[in-house]
């Protein structure tokens, strides 16, 4: 698109806006931002978009930034809890036949560690980052379906509380985060532990499905004028692809957990081989979700890397199109490799080889991403700030994880290392290296936007080196001890096997790694209270979230920006062109076309409401009750229906009724 086109579009936009809505009777129309002076515009928008005061107001908030902040803090707390689980396990394993915890507690510990890290930390935190950033990056005022978004947070919190309260009551699941039947089935999983797993999974997946839907609609329909598909920031692409993966993967695990609780509670025999069921069906269903899950966690992290590298390499990402196509390819391919988690079940040889090939194949788009990022960095010496350090840490560790992933893709090789500490090492390199390090980079990078203050660079460097050394000391030796024959999920091991010293070393590394997060937490609090003021765009980055103030106002942008480049702030150094014509006395958004982001219609955005919280409480109570009796679904339907009626009750807005 030439610059001449853009200029004309810039001029045209406001007129198109107003004329598009010419059918609304003028007397019903409120004040618009067209031609309004800045001071009164801010006053109008602040009053229209604010979160109401008071505790009820806070609980009713539908502001995507408020919800995202809550999500981020909650997920970080769960990270700390999951990390504490790990520390206890590492103390227990620091020597042979240690007696700190017995098998009953240990099995709950590693199950809670896995469940917490996967379902209560990793997925929510990448989605929460998206909830915060995507509306800002696409230049809109709020996420699509803001009440659904608020609902998702309450559901997530209640799912997390459910799991951790049951842990406090010593009735946490003890069957591993993938809870294979028959171990988790009615016969071998007595008590309520496996039921807690099943319903807690269903809970958190409802929440992440809701966020995925909101994200997809925001990206497709609420982009700022001019942000055609080729100008969508890579981070937003990553979240879009992730959201589609969520939409297709999560139902598989919800079916798995629902089948499981049906077997346990209703007496179906879906997974019971003695009655014509199949124990392996569980594994297929679970991993059909479980492998995409890895990419649900990893793809947003690649988006973060794609956002941070250009800011510090001082150029747009090299191979933008290649990066987007890789994201989409990874999204598709991630559904074709689930069987490599099941190579040890005794597969037909040819079928297994097919999954070797497909698992190898996914390394190609991932390789393309790595090479494009490296090429982006080759323009010159980047300024090394903490986000860059963590991006370098990401390369250092994630590439190891990716390469051991290639090893695991080989069927024969996998049979030696499957379910050993080699695999534990592999997936921590992939998940921590590939996702947590980019998340930490993102934390340092976007913290100024969220709080308006910088985090300490000096503490950041300490944090980085402590995390890198601790992480590698803890997880690299696990490759070796796995090859020496140590299976995962053992609460103890005999001294004769000679695993004692190396495990002591691993435990020391794990404690260091945990301490790095304590330092990080301190840096977060210190930065929020005492950090240097950041200004709107401390890194001189190019995407739209840096165009608004730090922290952004409740309405995000006073006037909706018009996008002329994939890095709009670099292209428009003076002032960003804007589109006007939105009403300021009601919450109004600009809805644009999917491909060209041509301004299409003005649309109301939902106002704050307490009903999503009530609905989440009703859903939560139903789920909780349903671990005891299937009748919970029947009795729970009534309060859920009541809360949904309250949620969707029409407000008598004349425009809505037309």
């Amino acid at each position: 698109m030439s610059s001449a086109d853009l200029t004309s579009e810039r001029d045209l936009t406001p007129e198109r806006e107003t004329s598009a809505k010419g059918d609304i009777a003028p007397e019903r129309d409120g004040p618009r931002d067209t031609g309004m002076d800045d001071a009164s515009l801010h006053r109008w928008l602040a009053r229209t978009w604010r979160t109401p005061p008071g505790i009820i107001g806070a609980l009713s908030s539908v502001d995507h930034k408020v919800i995202a902040r809550r999500y981020l803090i909650t997920a970080f707390l769960f990270l700390c809890l999951g990390g504490l689980n790990a520390v206890v396990m590492r103390v227990q394993l620091s020597g042979p036949r240690r007696g700190l915890v017995g098998p009953d507690l240990y099995n709950q510990l590693f199950t809670m560690h896995g469940v917490t890290m996967m379902f209560l930390f990793a997925v929510p935190i990448v989605q929460a980052t998206g909830i915060y950033l995507v509306p800002l990056m696409v230049g809109t005022r709020n996420i699509a379906f803001p009440r659904l978004n608020a609902f998702s947070y309450w559901i997530y919190v209640s799912g997390g509380l459910f799991a951790w309260v049951s842990f406090a009551l010593a009735m946490a699941p003890d069957v591993g985060w993938f809870a294979y039947v028959p171990l988790s089935g009615p016969e071998y999983g007595p008590g309520k532990r496996a039921d807690v797993w099943a319903q807690m999974i269903t809970y958190t997946e409802v929440s992440s499905l809701a966020v995925a839907v909101a994200t997809i609609v925001t990206v497709f329909k609420q982009r700022a004028p001019g942000m055609s598909l080729d100008k969508i920031p890579l981070y937003v692409w990553a979240l879009l692809v992730t959201s589609f993966v969520v939409v297709f993967a999560m139902p598989a695990v919800m079916i798995t957990s629902t089948f499981l609780i049906l077997d346990r509670l209703v007496g179906t025999h879906i997974f019971n081989p003695a009655e014509g069921g199949d124990a392996l069906l569980f594994q297929h269903l679970f991993w059909f979700f479980g492998h995409p899950e890895v990419y649900i966690i990893f793809l947003p992290a690649t988006g973060m890397v794609s956002a941070i590298i250009p800011a510090f390499a001082r150029r747009p990402a090299f191979g933008h199109l290649g990066l987007v196509l890789s994201l989409i390819a990874v999204g598709f391919l991630s559904f074709g490799l689930w069987v490599h988690h099941m190579f040890a079940i005794g597969l037909p040889k040819l079928g297994a080889s097919f999954f070797t090939a497909s698992s190898m194949l996914i390394a190609i788009p991932n390789g393309v991403q790595i090479f494009c990022w490296l090429a982006t960095l080759w323009d010159g010496r980047p300024v090394i700030r903490t986000p860059v350090l963590f991006v370098f840490g990401f390369f250092f560790t994630f590439v190891i994880g990716g390469l051991t992933g290639v090893m695991l893709a080989s069927v024969p090789l996998d049979l030696q290392v499957h379910d050993t500490y080699f695999v534990v090492a592999h997936f921590h390199y992939v998940l921590i290296g590939g996702s947590v390090f980019p998340l930490l980079a993102a934390a340092y990078f976007w913290f100024p936007k969220i709080t308006g203050r910088m985090m300490s660079e000096r503490l950041g460097r300490w944090h980085f080196w402590l995390a890198m050394i601790g992480f590698n000391a803890a997880f690299f030796p696990m490759h070796i001890v796995g090859l020496w024959g140590m299976p995962r999920r053992v609460y103890t091991y005999p001294a004769e096997l000679g695993w004692g010293n190396i495990n002591l070393f691993i435990s020391a590394g794990a404690v260091l790694f945990f301490l790095s997060f304590v330092l990080f937490a301190f840096n977060l609090v210190h930065g929020a209270l005492r950090g240097a003021p950041a200004g709107d765009n401390p890194w001189d980055a190019g995407t739209l979230e840096w165009a608004t103030s730090s922290p952004p106002p409740s309405y995000n942008f006073a006037r909706i920006p018009v996008v002329t480049n994939v890095e709009p702030l670099w292209a428009e150094r003076g002032a960003l062109p804007v589109a006007t014509g939105l009403r300021v006395d009601v919450r109004e958004l600009l809805v644009s076309t999917v491909a060209e982001a041509y301004p299409d219609i003005r649309e109301k955005s939902a106002t704050p409401s307490i009903w999503p919280l009530f609905a989440a409480i009703a859903v939560g109570a139903t789920f909780l009750y349903s671990i005891f009796t299937p009748w919970a679904i029947v009795w729970g339907a009534a309060p859920i229906a009541v809360t949904l009626v309250g949620w969707f009750w029409p407000k008598g807005d004349p425009e809505d009724e037309e």
Partner: protein, 337 residues
């Protein structure tokens, strides 16, 4: 200084090799399948290490550059970007070639592994239980079928076919120095062929999480020369040795009167339970409780007196016995060679 460094290096290598020489290590193969796999592991590791080093060099390059970054991030050097594109294309092409190579390599390795046991003469059925292994030697003659537990004797140098299944939850059979692992799944039968090149004792353990005592579900493969193996089989087919001392006789009677008899079998006595390990020749085994304790009089007493202390959560109940009764039962079991 240099000397000291070389000593340190030699020590490190020695430690590493010592680690490799563990009796449950995939890097210390003692059979053809494990050898093939160890070779595959080293090949993949070497290749991956090279790739990793190359990526790290590419990552370090910008840090070593002198040139400053552009003042205007949107002014790009088209020539430089074209060169980069070529490098990226070559790198992607190489990645694809390596991946295809590795895929073919694992395919052929799989074929090699499948061929190892094609002429196995001996078939052993291994059934997983929470948390022990039932081992049944199949034979065309019913009277020669032998059931034992946890320790699998095999003739060295011969391929042996293991039929793997489970009666409760999923377990996984894994003896790293002989072969990769394979799951024991209720309602299914998996086939694993193993071969030990030389006589020796090879440790393995359950590799699929199977509940409270997953950690203490060990097994041993004891490879012996053919003659010794045949002799062992014949010995094991004999009914239990009759107790000799008075104490052991009393122990034998107690065994039948106490709950022990409900679960355990002792050939040649009325004890015929099948839900727990066969004890006909229990004292001929090297370990107790699936590799948890070494076989000894003291450990037998410990295990019977406090099974939940040794293996918390195990299905072996605490049986209320006086000191004398415990001693008698231990004396009896100790004689079951």
């Amino acid at each position: 200084m240099k000397h000291r460094a070389s000593i340190a290096f030699a020590t490190a290598i020695a430690l590493l090799l010592q680690g490799c020489a563990g009796w449950q290590s995939a890097l210390d193969p003692k059979g053809p399948a494990a050898s093939e796999l160890a070779w595959l592991i080293w090949f993949f590791t070497g290749l991956c290490a090279v790739v990793w080093v190359l990526v790290m060099i590419a990552l370090a390059m910008p840090l070593l550059m002198r040139s400053r970054l552009h003042a205007d991030p949107l002014v790009l050097d088209a020539g430089a970007d074209n060169r980069k594109l070529r490098v990226v294309m070559i790198a992607v092409g190489l990645t694809a070639v390596i991946l295809v190579g590795l895929t073919l390599l694992s395919f052929f390795a799989n074929r090699t592994l499948a061929a190892i046991g094609s002429d196995a003469a001996l078939t052993i059925r291994v059934t997983g239980h929470q948390w022990w292994w039932e081992v049944r030697y199949e034979d065309a003659t019913p009277s020669r079928i032998l059931t034992t537990a946890n320790e699998i004797h095999i003739p060295a140098g011969e391929p042996v076919r293991l039929l793997l299944t489970s009666t409760d939850v999923i377990h996984s059979f894994w003896v790293p120095s002989l072969s990769g692992k394979l799951d024991l799944i209720p309602g299914r039968m998996n086939v694993l062929d193993i071969k030990a090149d030389k006589p020796g004792i090879y440790r393995g353990q359950c590799a699929e999480f199977c509940g409270a005592q997953h950690a203490n579900m060990g097994t041993f493969i004891i490879a012996e020369p053919r003659a010794k193996f045949d002799a062992w089989w014949n010995d094991q087919l004999q009914p239990a040795a009759a107790p000799t001392s008075d104490e052991a006789k009393a122990g034998g009677e107690l065994f039948l009167k106490r709950p022990c008899v409900m679960c355990h079998k002792i050939g040649g006595t009325p004890a015929g339970g099948t839900v727990a390990p066969d004890l006909t020749h229990v004292a001929s085994r090297q370990t107790l409780a699936a590799g948890t304790l070494m076989m000894s009089r003291g450990n037998l007493a410990t295990w019977i007196a406090d099974p939940q202390g040794v293996k918390p959560g195990s299905h072996m109940p605490v049986v209320d016995l006086s000191g004398d009764e415990l001693n008698a039962i231990v004396a009896y079991l100790e004689g079951l060679k």
